[in-house]
């Protein structure tokens, strides 16, 4: 992917067209499920990347937004609301939490944002685990009509939509403002960029997208413990995917998600628990040795692109 600026949207649109044909050409549920997961993780990673890559703020509590979106959507949906309305309200809940958490923590410099978000995610995980210890199972009639195809299309729409939104945002005036704040907050302020508002905007939008993907997870999963959606894994996996693919690039999370799920499939079967070790080492190696991820490796070979690049 990558390439010159006009080619990228073309590749993107044809990829969506091809992917939308997948359920038509293949009835293989395993393949469809795998593609669903790739798109889910790509969308979640993209939502982290919006703030972490383009905005330069490390959110260690991304799971809180994913989990809250999943929790609210699931409860309202199973409570009788149409799924679309439930998803909307779940997303709004995540966005609201973004404002609540972002306003105090984004004003402070230093490590406070990272550890504040981590604390919020843990508060929610423990509280939800205490308050809702029962596993959430789809009711019988929903189970009887359950098919993967609508879930897959939802996943495709969300991944494409979030990617397009980030792509557009990165080229907008606001996106340049966000990148300026990432590079140097003082300089950005000096040239008239309101650093706090840009950071808050990116944070709330990032949380909003994570809530959407959480709602998708709630729609997809037959049974899960509500606190599972708040597990730190929902922070770690998108982080890993984003860094592997290329942090602060539009295509990085997509490439990273394909790689992550392929490797996880291959490793989990052979190595079991040990596959987490491989992921941990891989993540450290990328942060230390290849801070631009695969996108940088590709670019170094001469495929220059105009995408803004995060230096983290």
């Amino acid at each position: 992917m990558g390439g010159t600026a006009p080619a990228a949207p073309l590749v993107f649109v044809s990829a969506i067209a091809l992917l939308s044909l997948l359920p038509v050409v293949s009835a293989n549920q395993a393949i469809l499920n795998w593609a669903f997961l790739v798109l889910l993780y790509a969308a979640l990673a993209q939502s982290w990347n919006l703030l972490g890559g383009f905005g330069g703020q490390v959110n260690l509590g991304h799971a809180a937004f994913f989990g809250l979106g999943a929790l609210v959507t699931r409860r309202l949906w199973l409570g009788g609301l149409p799924f679309g309305a439930a998803l909307l309200l779940g997303t709004l809940a995540s966005a609201g939490m973004g404002v609540l958490v972002g306003v105090p923590s984004l004003r402070l410099r230093g490590p406070y944002f990272a550890i504040g978000t981590l604390a919020v995610a843990e508060i929610l995980r423990i509280t939800v685990g205490n308050a809702l210890p029962q596993v959430s199972v789809l009711p019988a009639q929903a189970l009887a009509t359950y098919t993967l195809v609508p879930r897959y299309y939802l996943s495709l729409v969300l991944a494409a939509g979030i990617t397009a939104a980030v792509w557009w945002l990165a080229r907008s005036r606001i996106g340049y403002g966000i990148a300026a704040v990432r590079e140097d907050e003082g300089v950005a302020e000096a040239i008239g960029v309101n650093a706090f508002r840009h950071k808050l905007g990116a944070f709330v939008l990032s949380g909003c997208f994570a809530g959407l993907v959480g709602g998708e997870f709630a729609y997809y999963h037959v049974s899960f413990y509500p606190s599972f959606a708040f597990s730190p894994l929902w922070t770690f996996d998108p982080l890993l995917i984003t860094y592997l693919g290329g942090v602060g690039t539009v295509w990085g999370p997509l490439i990273g998600a394909v790689f992550f799920l392929s490797l996880r499939e291959a490793l989990a079967l052979r190595l079991g628990e040990l596959h987490l070790l491989v992921f941990g080492l891989l993540f450290i190696a990328v942060v230390v040795a290849l801070p631009g991820g695969f996108m940088e490796a590709v670019r170094a070979k001469g495929f220059e692109s105009k995408m803004p690049n995060a230096r983290v």
């Binding site: 330069g56 490390v58 260690l60 105090p104 923590s105 402070l108 410099r109 230093g110 490590p111 406070y112 990272a114 550890i115 504040g116 981590l118 604390a119 919020v120 843990e122 508060i123 423990i126 509280t127 205490n130 730190p232 770690f236 982080l239 860094y243 628990e273 040990l274 987490l276 070790l277 992921f279 941990g280 080492l281 993540f283 450290i284 942060v287 230390v288 230096r311 983290v312």
Partner: protein, 292 residues
């Protein structure tokens, strides 16, 4: 009386919180790096104490020394392999990348611990484990009182080291101003290395005491990292005494909220407290300087 009992239990556990936080605070103060794998180092310290006791019957109060040494070594290796390459980066990059590396490290150390020692909970059970001393209607478990005393001694020793010895003063000077420290001839790279080792050694001591009073399992890391972070934020940076008091404060606050709201919410209370302090007093409850 139940109230007083809860307060005592809170104080006893709070000393360990303070000890857990001091190592993290030291590394942050000197290197401006946040090692979010600090809790994993505490976990390793717990296992060191556990195996020393189980295999050779070493008393855990003595095992804190080899445990500190072992974790000092582990810290030195981690620093040389991973964190050293960050020291010339800008402050912001240094902080961010140290958090990311630590985040990856938690996964690696946790998985290795599960592979090596299984996911089971382990506790160091000494012959005197159940002994209690009743003081005016309040029961004081001897073991926890001993752990609190040990924590106090270690922190006192650290205070003396930092304020009365030349290497300690060099360390503080480096924390204050790296450039000035290097201009007056302090070997800054070596101070960095020693600080990271010392921070890890403190995690080792804390971990062994945790194994003695609570239990150790590969999964405890994150919750101890969070406790240490909460205490550091409550206490403000830079003061060992402030950190210790903040630890006691957190211990009592958790214990009281466990008593009022139910035990399942103890940890939540600490985290909520932490967010409130971030919101209202980012320089810490006991700190006076501006936020970092």
């Amino acid at each position: 009386m139940i109230f007083a009992q809860n307060a005592v239990f809170g104080l006893l556990i709070g000393g360990l919180y303070g000890l857990a936080a001091v190592g993290l605070s030291l590394v942050f103060g000197v290197l401006k790096m946040l090692n979010v794998a600090h809790g994993e180092l505490i976990m390793l310290g717990g296992y060191t104490g556990f195996w020393l006791f189980t295999l050779w019957g070493v008393d855990p109060f003595i095992a804190v020394l080899p445990s500190a040494l072992a974790l000092f070594g582990a810290g030195v290796v981690l620093y040389q392999v991973l964190f050293r390459r960050l020291i010339y980066a800008s402050d912001e990059t240094k902080l961010k990348n140290s958090i990311l590396i630590g985040f990856g490290l938690t996964l690696v150390v946790q998985t290795l611990a599960i592979l090596a020692w299984t996911a089971d909970e382990r506790a160091i059970t000494t012959a005197y484990a159940g002994a209690v001393v009743p003081i005016g209607g309040v029961v004081v478990p001897l073991l926890r009182a001993g752990a609190l005393g040990a924590a106090f001694l270690v922190l006192g020793g650290l205070h003396l080291f930092l304020h009365r010895t030349l290497p300690g003063k060099a360390l503080r000077a480096t924390a204050e101003d790296v450039e000035a420290a290097s201009l007056v001839g302090i070997p800054v790279p070596r101070i960095f290395l020693a600080s990271f080792g010392l921070g890890s050694a403190l995690a080792g001591v804390a971990g062994t005491l945790v194994g003695l009073t609570d239990a150790v399992s590969p999964a405890i890391g994150l919750s101890w990292t969070l406790k240490a972070l909460i205490v550091v934020v409550l206490g403000g940076l830079g003061s060992i005494f402030g950190t210790f008091v903040a630890g006691l404060f957190l211990g009592v606050a958790e214990s009281m909220s466990g008593f009022v709201l139910g035990n399942a919410y103890r940890e939540v209370m600490g985290l909520v407290l932490f967010l409130l302090v971030l919101l209202l007093r980012p320089q810490g409850l006991f700190g006076s300087g501006p936020a970092a």
